[in-house]
Amino acid sequence: MKRINDLENLAKKYRRELFEKLLVIKQGHLGSIFSMMEIIVALYHCGFVEFDEKKKEFLDKVLISKGHAAAALYPLLKDFGVLPKKEWDNWGHTNSLLRVFTNTSIPGIDVTSGSLGHCVGVGAGMAISFKRTEKNKRVFVIISEGELYEGSIWEALLFAKHHKLDNLTIIIDINSLIILGKTSDCLNLDPIKDKITGLGISVLEVDGHNLNDLISTFETSKKLGEINCILAKTVKGKGCKLMENEKRWHYYNLMSEDEIKQARKELS
């Protein structure tokens, strides 16, 4: 396993690469991407998502339900050699394979997402298929806190609990912001933990930017032997002061030269 310092540097590197790319293509959801960066670094780089080096493919599945932030995976997939570098370089050109919202035609992407609220159900379907066909595979679903407004999430959680899908882990990226403001002001979701434990599903809580904490939580999650939800407390736009906790950074905003310079400094 990589050292924490190395993992932190990877998270920084991915943020930097995505910042520079989105600066060129002038679109994307940096705030939402940055809030889940340590989560995916811990999942992929610490062996929780098993990788077949020979085939250059991941054996376990990761579904980014918050599809607007799924592009966070591109630099990571590039590092693993799953996504060809030429595709990354080509992103932003007319015939680019990559786009802000991912889809299954992109190597390493397990689901087409973008419309919120689907992937807990999709993940439950995959997880039950793995169990009934005796495949030793896990499914990780990363959803945004705002997706909890979608009723289909709760329908699928009921299903997953009933079928004891111990190979399914739901990670909720709680950055407390949606497009129009704080979830607590727009339409309160709290207490999220009580609502999920009310379904009989175990809940783990974690600082979504603390890699040590994330690793130990994923280890606990695996050992639990039952479906569980991880509530990851995060900061929207983490790593770039200009964007942190700013609802307007749900989507891309034009920046002044000074702002770009400052962001680069923070991300370096």
């Binding site: 889809n103 397990d110 999709v122 379907g125 995959m126 039950i128 066909t133 329908e155 699928a156 009921l158």
Partner: protein
């Protein structure tokens, strides 16, 4: 036999040698489904009364290489979960087959929440879908066999009631065409085109006056049968009869299919009205009251 039982029996047959089939229900039953659940419990999933989650779960199962059948009452399987269907079966081109029971006014005793009079237009609009509306059990079986052999994103519109078998039966050759023409085509005749239950009303009228009419059972409306327009273009005109609301029903499909081949016959659409029906009286009573009686259909044919 009910169409649903006929379809499920074919799935049961296939399950004997193919375990990569999953059957999902949103708390909707059938006699044959009881058998499937007993014989193959590992291949059945009750998803709760949750059509939206059922379609998402179906996507996950299909992404792992399974053939998936989802089953529920037509109005809820179709419109309630339409975006899940688009994002899963549609966008990812997954082999999910939706078995939609009780199309049109099938649930006449229940009222408009249970009517499925807009599903045809909605599902025809989803990219990549195949849409079938069989009018009897033999054609339902052919559809089931084909989808089990060649899994694809498909929407199967089944009637709630037992429908009589059509004679002569739909053959494999007809099945590949997507339609069957009854009667000899000539320029003095009007063509009735329909599917599902309404086909039987048209068939009855054709059988009474085969010198005046031909009758077409278009059990596969999407992909549209490309050779149908030229085949019947010499007819005097066409009356399309559909137990759907006026917008986007089978007549739209027929008009599009013909116009794409620069054929513009006179087409009269007979459908339900642009209103939600709250009247009681049973399905036949409602069909007769709201423009789909035999008299209404004959009157439309006379306008040609």
């Amino acid at each position: 036999m009910l169409q649903r039982d006929a379809f499920i029996k074919e799935i049961i047959k296939k399950l004997n040698n193919d375990k990569n089939i999953f059957f999902l229900s949103a708390d909707f039953g059938a006699a044959a489904l009881d058998d499937l659940r007993e014989l193959f419990p590992n291949n059945f999933l009750h998803c709760g009364i949750s059509e939206q989650a059922m379609l998402d779960i179906a996507s996950g199962l299909a992404l792992d290489g399974n053939k998936v059948f989802v089953y529920a009452m037509a109005p809820f399987l179709s419109l309630r979960a339409i975006e899940q269907t688009k994002c899963g079966a549609g966008l990812m081109n997954l082999p999910i087959c939706l078995l939609s029971v009780g199309i049109g006014l099938g649930y006449a005793d229940a009222g408009p929440t249970h009517y499925s009079t807009e599903d045809f237009a909605c599902f025809r609009a989803i990219i990549g879908s195949s849409v079938y509306t069989p009018a009897d059990v033999p054609s339902t079986k052919l559809i089931a066999k084909d989808i089990l052999e060649n899994p694809k994103f498909s929407y199967i519109r089944l009637d709630r009631d037992v429908l009589p078998n059509i004679y002569p039966e739909i053959t494999h050759s007809d099945f590949n065409n997507g339609y069957k023409v009854f009667g000899k085509i000539d320029n003095k005749k009007t063509a009735f085109i329909s599917h599902g239950r309404m086909f039987h009303r048209c068939f009855e009228l054709y059988n009474k006056e085969p010198n005046k009419f031909i009758c077409v059972d278009i059990f596969r409306s999407k992909p549209f049968p490309k050779d149908l327009p030229k085949k019947i273009s010499s007819c005097k005109g066409i009356v399309v009869v559909d137990e759907q609301s006026p917008s986007g029903n089978l007549s739209s499909c027929i008009f599009e299919g013909f116009s794409q081949q620069n054929l513009f016959p006179k087409i009269i659409s007979k459908s339900l009205p642009e209103k939600y029906i709250f009247d009681n009286g049973g399905r036949d009573y409602l069909l007769n009251k709201f423009g789909l009686s035999n008299i209404d259909i004959i009157a439309a044919a006379k306008q040609i």
